[in-house]
Each structure stands twice: as structure tokens, then as C-alpha cells.
Amino acid sequence: MLLKVRKLEKSFDGIKAVQDCSFAVEKSKIVALIGPNGAGKTTVFNLITGLIKPDAGHIHFKGEPIIGLPPHRIAGLGINRTFQLIRLFPNLTTIDNLLLAKGELGEDFLAAVFKPKQIKHAEETNRKRCMEFLKLVGLEEKRDSLAKNLSYGQRKLVEIARALSTEADLLLLDEPVAGVNPVMREKIKDILLKLKKEGKTILFIEHDMKFVMRIADKVIVMDHGEEIAVGTPKQIQKNKKVLEAYLGPEKI
């Protein structure tokens, strides 16, 4: 198991956002996290990445407990994420957004001051690496545009490219295809399947059920902060609890 979440709990002002939530993500799988609005999916992401601390429960990544670690340490262990509302650095260029994704020698203050040559070399290597990811999403020509001047779809792709260029083992994608046109959606699907082939693990939140059913190996369903069902896309489609969560209880 790459990621193991057990009995996670989190309340905001007495309202339980996540309760008794347990699931596991295996390596090299694409796992979808679905559920109605307000089910607590994004809160789970925030808990895994350490942006907020749970009230109770355990999270293990590669067998190590990660609860209580600051976000930058968790990122360093190999977990990266995208955000539901795209969060690029708007006044930085596209390539700078990617260059920031992985640590670099020149980010050390003393190196930045005293080792200009080594830094230049490290920067060139990093730039080449990041250009590959930019090519993968087809935006190499936009490398020097400020992120705020890109279109919505382009920004979505840059955010995915940025998550990729962290070279994290586990990617958490918060609604990767929301508001994206069908052509772009196909592209994102292809990218995710390619990543899976390369051995990356993806956990994603999505409301587009067609998309979920086509690429997920496993689906986790949440409702009212609880995980209510786990299974393959086919099993989930027939699950009564899931239908109730989405459509309300059947009237007799």
C-alpha cells in the first residue's frame, strides 16, 4: 500500500467534515474519490497534504506516519497535489511555475550568493526537465507567458504539468477535468494513463462520472464525511448506497 488512511476525523466548529474515513491506495493505480458536494473530499486532500491537521486517525505514506508533519516535509516525501480552483503563481511565467516544483541547488540562500556557476548548471538541467513536462501538455510555446495571461484550460494543464514536474510518487488531483472542453479532457485522460504506465499513483476527485468510469481502477465514495463504498467502477455503479447518496433514498 502506498497510502493508507485510517479512521480519519476532522470537525470544523463542531460540524463533522470527515468522520471514520478509511481507505487505501495501491501503487501504480488510478483511484477516484467521488461523492456529492460537501462530502469532505477536498478536506481529505487537505489532511493528506498536511495543510490542516486531523482531530483523530492515521495516515501512512510508504509505511511511515505523516500526520503532524508540516506541508513542505510531506511534499518532500513524494506527495503532490493540484487545487480545485487553479492555483498557479499568477505573476510568474509558465516555466518559472514548473521550475519551482522541485527543489533546486540555487534555492539555498548561501548557494544563491556564492555558487553562481553551479547554480546556472543546475538551473539548465532543471529547465530541460521542465520543458519536457510542458511539451507533454503541449504548452512549450507558452513558456515565457505570465501564468495569469493563460486561458482557463491552459492553466489547468500547467497546473497538472507542475504537479508532474515535482516527480512525486503520489499525485492528488482535485477535479482535473472540471470546466475543461472535451478535447482537453481526452488529453488529460491520455496523460493520466501514461503516468500510470510509468508507475505513478494518482488519487483524484471528480464529478464527471463518465471520466471516472473510464480511467479509475478503483472508486472510493464518500458522503457526509464518511466513506460509504469502495470498489471497481462497475461495482460502484450498481451500489445501492451510492445511488441513495446521489439521488436520495428511494420512495416507496
Binding site: 495543510l51 513542505h72 511534499a75 492555483r87 510568474l92 521550475l99 519551482l100 534555492e107 550568493v113
Partner: protein, 293 residues
């Protein structure tokens, strides 16, 4: 001759304020730390090197470095409790810091002589040559160049890119694995160091300092310089220092009766600044304006 001395004096002050503005820009323009109390570091540098020279006879050069280092140390002390604060809260905390420091300069009479100030601060001596007038201008010019080059190198490096990322969205920077508290602390400490150097240069030039030189109003002047020149632009900080210090001087030559000159100059100065910012909100050389949220 008098006119020449007047120009040299003006250029020295512009130079000293350029160092102050460049250093503030590192914290505020590049990293997004709303530091309203920058002038306190300037004061710490000035008082440190003045007191070392007056009471212990320490040479200017050592006093200068000590002033910078003590300002940097106070930068660290300020950073520890406040660096987690965001935006407006940090602004308030730094404002309080500047008020406390000014109050210390004013009330620790046994050390600083309070409002009486410290007169007779010696001019620096360089290989037997006492620096004043034109030679002092050269000294200040050298320090402007050093500050300019150092901050430029820093901000153009990957380190500087992380600072900008923190300014843009600290949460994302964190989730990309950056220890943002460390980066912000370093930025504040370096910024304080150069402000301390500027303070020492000021004290040994004017040869007299008192608490009113380091009031919060002076801080606002420096903030005006980097906003006018352009946030996150090193040359912009220098341009801002020129504009803010030159406008009142140019207005001095307007044919205005002497009883009204002070008020008219201030009104015109304010008017020019407002027009400048309406026409170019990102500043003269700036890349971006402060985010509207």
C-alpha cells in the same frame, strides 16, 4: 560652490535612501512581507555605529558592519514571533516594532540621550583621509552598487524565485515543498542588514542623530519610493528614491511667496504622487501592482 555642495548633499541622501528602498523591496516587493517598520532597522544601524564611535571610539568601518549585523539580528528577533502572520497582521506587528524602537531611542536617555540626540558623530576616515562632501558621495555610491548587485543576484536566482512564489501564493509554495517560514525569515534578515548599513552611513554623514529621524513617517516615505519606482524591481527602488527626494527640491525653485511655500510644496508633492499612481499603478519600472483581493 554652494550649489555644488547642495547637489552633492542631495545625491548622498538619495544614495542612502536608495539602499533603504532596495532593501525594503526585497522584503515587501519580492517576498510580499508588508513591513511598515523598516525604518526601525535604519535607526538601529545608525544608533549602533554612532554609539560605538562616540563612547568607545570604534572606527567607522567596524561600526558600519556592527550596525548592519545588529539590525539583522533584530530582523531575526522580529521574524520569530511575527513571520507566520499574514498581510495586514504582519503590517500591524511591524508598525508596533517601529513604534517600540523609536520609543527606546527616545526614552533610554542614559544610552541615547533621548530627544537631545547624539551630536558630534565622527566622519569616517579612509587611509588618513576624512570623508566628507564629494568623497562621502563616492563612499555612499560604492555601497549603493554593492547593495544593488547583491539584491539583484539574489532575486534573479532560484532563491529569489521562491520568494516571489511565496508572495504570489504561500500555501502553494508550501505544498511544493518549500519551507516558506525559513525563506521569509532570511528575506527579512537580509533586508534589515542593508537598512542597518544605510543607517550607519546616514549617522556618520549628518554627524547628528535624534529619534525623530527614525519615526514611522520616514518609513512611509521609503514605502512610497518602492511603490512609485515599482514593487519587485531593484532599479525601480533607485528611481523611486530619486523621484520622492527630488520632487520637493524641484518645487523649491517655484516662484511662491515664502509664507506659503511649505504648504504648497506638500500639496503639489502629494498631487504628483497621486497622479503617478493613477496613471501607472504598478510603478514606473514595476511588473505588477499589489493584488486586489
Amino acid at each position: 560652490m554652494a550649489f555644488e555642495a547642495y547637489i552633492i548633499n542631495l545625491l548622498i541622501l538619495i544614495g542612502i535612501f536608495s539602499i533603504l528602498a532596495i532593501s525594503l523591496n526585497l522584503a515587501m516587493g519580492f517576498t510580499g512581507l508588508l513591513n511598515i517598520g523598516h525604518i526601525a532597522f535604519y535607526g538601529i544601524g545608525a544608533y549602533t555605529s554612532a554609539l560605538l564611535a562616540l563612547s568607545l571610539g570604534v572606527p567607522f568601518w567596524i561600526g558600519l558592519v556592527a550596525g548592519g549585523l545588529l539590525a539583522a539580528f533584530f530582523g531575526l528577533i522580529l521574524a520569530i514571533p511575527t513571520i507566520k502572520l499574514r498581510g495586514d497582521y504582519l503590517a500591524l506587528a511591524t508598525l508596533a516594532f517601529a513604534i517600540i524602537m523609536e520609543s527606546i531611542f527616545r526614552n533610554w536617555i542614559s544610552l541615547t540621550r533621548g530627544p537631545l540626540g547624539l551630536p558630534g558623530i565622527p566622519k569616517p576616515v579612509f587611509f588618513g583621509l576624512t570623508l566628507s562632501g564629494f568623497s562621502y558621495l563616492i563612499l555612499v555610491f560604492v555601497f549603493v552598487i554593492i547593495t544593488y548587485l547583491f539584491i539583484t543576484r539574489l532575486t534573479k536566482s532560484p532563491f529569489g524565485r521562491v520568494l516571489k512564489a511565496i508572495r504570489e501564493d504561500e500555501l502553494v509554495a508550501k505544498s511544493l515543498g518549500k519551507n516558506t517560514l525559513k525563506f521569509k525569515t532570511i528575506a527579512l534578515v537580509i533586508s534589515a542588514f542593508f537598512a542597518g548599513i544605510a543607517g550607519s552611513l546616514y549617522a556618520h554623514y549628518i554627524t547628528f542623530i535624534d529619534p525623530s529621524t527614525f519615526s514611522i513617517l520616514e518609513s512611509i516615505l521609503v514605502i512610497a519610493m518602492i511603490i512609485i519606482g515599482g514593487l519587485a524591481s531593484v532599479p525601480g527602488a533607485v528611481v523611486g528614491a530619486f523621484i520622492v527626494l527630488l520632487i520637493p527640491e524641484v518645487l523649491r525653485f517655484l516662484p511662491i511667496p515664502s509664507y506659503a511655500i511649505g504648504a504648497v510644496r506638500q500639496i503639489l508633492f502629494a498631487l504628483i504622487l497621486v497622479i503617478l499612481l493613477i496613471k501607472r499603478p504598478q510603478g514606473i519600472l514595476g511588473e505588477f501592482a499589489f493584488k486586489k483581493k
